[in-house]
């Protein structure tokens, strides 16, 4: 697949992070081009979620550099908030605002951060909710929705910010099996529309079908990266072979 050679949307350079004695990220170097769908896989504890969270600084790093569209990630304050606004994030546990309606969840960002007028924000939000198929639930609160519906709302909430890239941190891991596909379908559609995506997931079929590149992590390191077909059919490292063997049949 042709990847533009312009400034990468997301770039990590020599990123290191420790949790006490635990070296969770070891010299991570990664760049994500515009429109690219990057899927990160690996055994649990490999640091893939942590890496995903460093990209909008929900996790700090000890050394190295993270750039969003060529701009170093600010350390704090309004500059950091402004950069976060450009990178959407979807969490494993949805994290919808429990005290707000579905519609208010989606309009929160545009109204509070982008200062979009309320009517416009609500119209856009309804359009997004229609796209992810939960517009009929707009007046409810998150606890009244199924996990799959909540996660689709969470995606709509991120999209409402018109992000330049989206991070997905195990978006289907907390879902009942029958709800995984409805969320993946929304993500596939996003990918086809050219959204730049970093997806941490265990959904191998999704990775094979949608990813431009698969990154395999283990013990805080990027062990190998390749096109999905190459990676799944001809893994190079022993770690990747073992991992793929262990999840066969899933």
């Amino acid at each position: 697949m042709a990847i533009e050679t312009a400034t990468p949307v997301i770039e990590l350079r020599h990123v290191d992070k420790h949790y006490g004695p635990l070296h969770v990220l070891r010299d991570i170097n990664l760049s994500v081009a515009k429109g690219e769908v990057l899927v990160v896989i690996g055994p649990s504890g490999s640091g893939k979620s942590t890496m995903c969270r460093t990209i909008n600084r929900l996790e700090t790093i000890d050394s190295g550099e993270i750039l969003i569209e060529g701009t170093p990630l600010p350390q704090e304050g309004k500059e950091l908030a402004a950069l976060r606004a450009k990178v959407g994030m979807v969490f494993q546990s949805f994290n919808l605002f429990a005290h707000k309606t579905i519609l208010q969840n989606v309009t929160m960002g545009p109204i509070e951060v982008l200062h979009t007028p309320r009517e416009q924000a609500e119209a856009e939000a309804m359009e997004l909710l229609r796209r992810v198929g939960v517009d009929s639930q707009a007046a409810k609160v998150p606890a009244q929705l199924s996990g799959g519906q909540q996660q689709r709302v969470a995606i709509a909430r991120s999209l409402a910010m018109h992000p330049t890239a989206m991070l997905f941190d195990e978006p289907t891991s907390a879902l009942d099996p029958e709800m995984i596909n409805e969320v993946l379908a929304v993500m596939v559609e996003l990918a086809q529309e050219g959204m730049t995506m970093v997806v941490v997931t265990h959904e191998m079929n999704f990775a094979r079908r949608v990813a431009n590149r698969v990154v395999f992590m283990a013990d805080g390191q990027i062990v190998e990266q390749n096109s999905p077909d190459e990676f799944f059919d001809h893994p190079q490292s022993q770690r990747a072979k073992d991992f793929l063997e262990s999840i066969k049949g899933h």
Partner: protein
């Protein structure tokens, strides 16, 4: 979700036949003991001539009740004002403590712990005996209200902080990811949820405020307790008067507790499973 599972359900195993029998026997024994205790109290009252009409007859007079009710109004005025001040101050102390401004945070932490650990009587003496020496004279209403409010604000700051800590971390992370600033996240996401969580404990904390007001006699503020003391010396009726006053305090605090239970249920259901009312 689990909002309707009460603590009792969660920690309570349904009893089997043996346990049920044991519970029945225990209940029987306690009822007998309780009745015995009541009989003993009444007997002691009788033996000590406390049931003599001269200790009770003045309760038939309206003036007695009017005087007590005036005291009750004083108690409620102090408790209410102190409660409001304590809530505002407690909220500010908590916000200061969780702020990213280090000196402010430390200062609020120290003040919170200070108010929390000082007995309210000590604070009252401070406002009653020490502060006037430095030229600040306050009416007796404020001499009781301010120290009671200060003492409660320390506790309430901790109640609020517990509420803030009880809001799942994912809520503020999601807000951060949207690009909201720390202040906005606190105002729009964390505080509204934290307040809902703490409303019940907040109200039951007001019971403590009501009880604290009873030391108003120190500053001669005419609250329920102070007025009861006046009546006691007038009628020389210590036991009967304290008995009635105790019942009034129990009634106030029982009502307050019921209110907090009501709020707990209402808030619990409204946040977890609000139905389709509240349309957009």
């Amino acid at each position: 979700m689990s909002a309707n599972v009460s603590m009792r359900d969660a920690l309570y195993e349904a009893p089997g036949p043996k346990t049920r029998r044991r519970v029945a026997i225990g209940t029987g024994i306690s009822v007998v003991l309780l009745l015995g205790l009541i009989a003993f109290v009444i007997r002691q009252f009788y033996v000590n001539d406390q049931l003599n009409p001269r200790y009770w007859s003045f309760f038939a007079r309206w003036t007695t009740w009017r005087f007590l009710l005036r005291g009750l109004a004083g108690t409620i005025r102090v408790a209410f004002t102190a409660g409001i001040i304590a809530m505002i101050l407690g909220l500010l102390l908590m916000l200061g403590r969780i702020s990213h401004n280090r000196p402010l945070s430390v200062a609020c932490h120290v003040i919170t712990d200070l108010f929390r650990s000082l007995p309210s009587l000590l604070l009252i003496y401070f406002f009653f005996l020490v502060i006037p020496k430095y030229g600040l004279r306050m009416p007796s209403f404020w001499m009781i209200t301010v120290p009671v409010a200060l003492a409660a604000s320390g506790v309430l700051a901790e109640v609020f902080r517990a509420g803030v800590n009880a809001v799942p971390k994912g809520q503020s992370e999601a807000a951060m990811a949207l690009g909201m600033t720390h202040g906005k996240i606190t105002r729009k996401i964390v505080l509204p949820q934290a307040l809902r969580i703490v409303v019940p404990s907040l109200v039951s904390q007001l019971v403590v405020v009501v009880k604290d007001t009873t030391v108003a006699y120190v500053v001669s503020y005419p609250d329920l307790m102070q007025n009861a003391r006046v009546l006691i010396s007038n009628y020389d009726a210590l036991v009967s008067m304290y008995f009635v006053v105790a019942l009034i305090y129990i009634a106030i605090n029982y009502a307050t507790n019921q209110f907090s239970i009501y709020l707990a249920h209402r808030e619990g259901t409204s946040i977890m499973s609000r139905t389709t009312e509240n349309p957009v």
